[in-house]
Symmetry: C2
Subunit: 236 residues, 2 copies
């Protein structure tokens, strides 16, 4: 694995709540491949262990992915990722609240409201992740990212991801660490401002679903223009 690991990477432990879903598993796959320790979380430990074994097989000996119930995964990690359906966002995060204190929580949640998932339906107040931060309180460093990246591409490691990542958060240092994690997963990522700005990324996902439908494609995304991609992060 060392030949895939950038010299600057400092391995950390990442828990992915909802790690049995496509988006969470895809991110976990990329981070494990990059050299981080990844623990998939699920409400049922068995399901997480099975999904982790699948990822380990896909990694072909390069790394081992672990599985656990959400609380165990969150407790063991330094960075926790929330990748659950919108309807489970608040309950899942609150169920592991104690384990999140002082940690970075990367919220990948998109406020899709079935059946009209191609229609922007932001919660009152704008951003779903802002609402979550308000609920969790300042002891959790919530950062929003990855809402616009199609899960389709994540598990194809040699497939460049043709979608930029907007990283929003009120804590600049936490944001910087998430930018670095996106880079480690092979994505271009941007400091996109305060956490409330996540409303743009959240809303954009419904627009991309509408675009997919209208133009008969599977995974449209966005790139920023008029600005040069920043270099590799200074840290890991």
């Amino acid at each position: 694995m060392t030949d895939q690991t950038p010299a600057t990477l400092v391995p950390i432990t990442i828990a992915i709540l909802g790690g049995t879903g496509k988006e969470g598993a895809g991110l976990g796959f990329r981070w494990a491949h990059a050299g981080h320790r990844v623990i998939l979380g699920s409400r049922e430990a068995d399901r997480a262990v099975t999904a982790a074994a699948d990822l380990t097989a896909l990694l072909g000996g390069r790394a081992t992915v672990e599985g656990a119930d959400n609380a165990t995964a969150a407790a063991a990690a330094t960075v926790v990722v929330l990748a659950v359906p919108f309807s489970a966002q608040q309950a899942t995060a609150l169920s592991v609240r104690d384990a999140l204190a002082g940690k970075i929580l990367i919220d990948v949640t998109v406020p899709l409201v079935p059946p009209k998932v191609d229609r922007v339906q932001l919660p009152a107040g704008g951003s779903a992740v802002q609402r979550l931060q308000d609920e969790l309180g300042p002891q959790v460093r919530v950062v929003s990212a990855f809402q616009n990246v199609s899960a389709v591409h994540l598990k194809k490691i040699d497939h460049p991801i043709d979608c930029d990542v907007l990283v929003c958060g009120d804590d600049a240092d936490a944001r910087e660490q998430v930018v670095a994690l996106a880079n480690a997963a092979g994505m271009v990522a941007w400091h996109a401002g305060v956490l409330a700005n996540s409303a743009a990324a959240e809303a954009l996902t419904s627009v991309l679903i509408a675009i997919n439908k209208r133009y008969k494609v599977s995974s449209s995304g966005i790139r920023l223009t008029g600005v040069a991609p920043p270099g590799p992060p200074a840290g890991g």
Copy 2:
């Protein structure tokens, strides 16, 4: 002018309320250059006439831009563009309401709330333009577009605009006409779904302002990926 006019262009009359501002004037310049009749509107006719003369000079004999008060401009046009500051959005549109019946109103308004214009502050309910449509009623065919295109590039006619246009609206035919108008102005434009989806474009503008600030650039934008730009519009 005929050599610049695509064979398919059917000239229409476009009124631009707030046409003395940078974004409105820039769009007017491009449409006049493409062969459309453009009337800049302003609360004060004198200011519109002056701004129109400036554009006419910039066009170097290719076309003449007219100026009038907002009501006169709106009454004379088949397509009306609203390009005013957020604080004037509702009042300006309502002041010409009678002239808008049955017409397409292209709303370019971005709900920026000074001084924190790099922070997403969508109105209650999500989209500012959706709120306007609710106010104007179904007799006005409101379409949202151009929120993310920096005015910096609009007046440089040989300058390709490196930003896609998200076109949102509940009336598919009206949306199609706005896509065609964006194409005529040299931009790639996309059917981005229902009018409520404009929340994404509206919020994205604050994100782009945050990006401009953070990365010290003047006019960041977006491009869609994973989808091929559609061909030229069938109509004009």
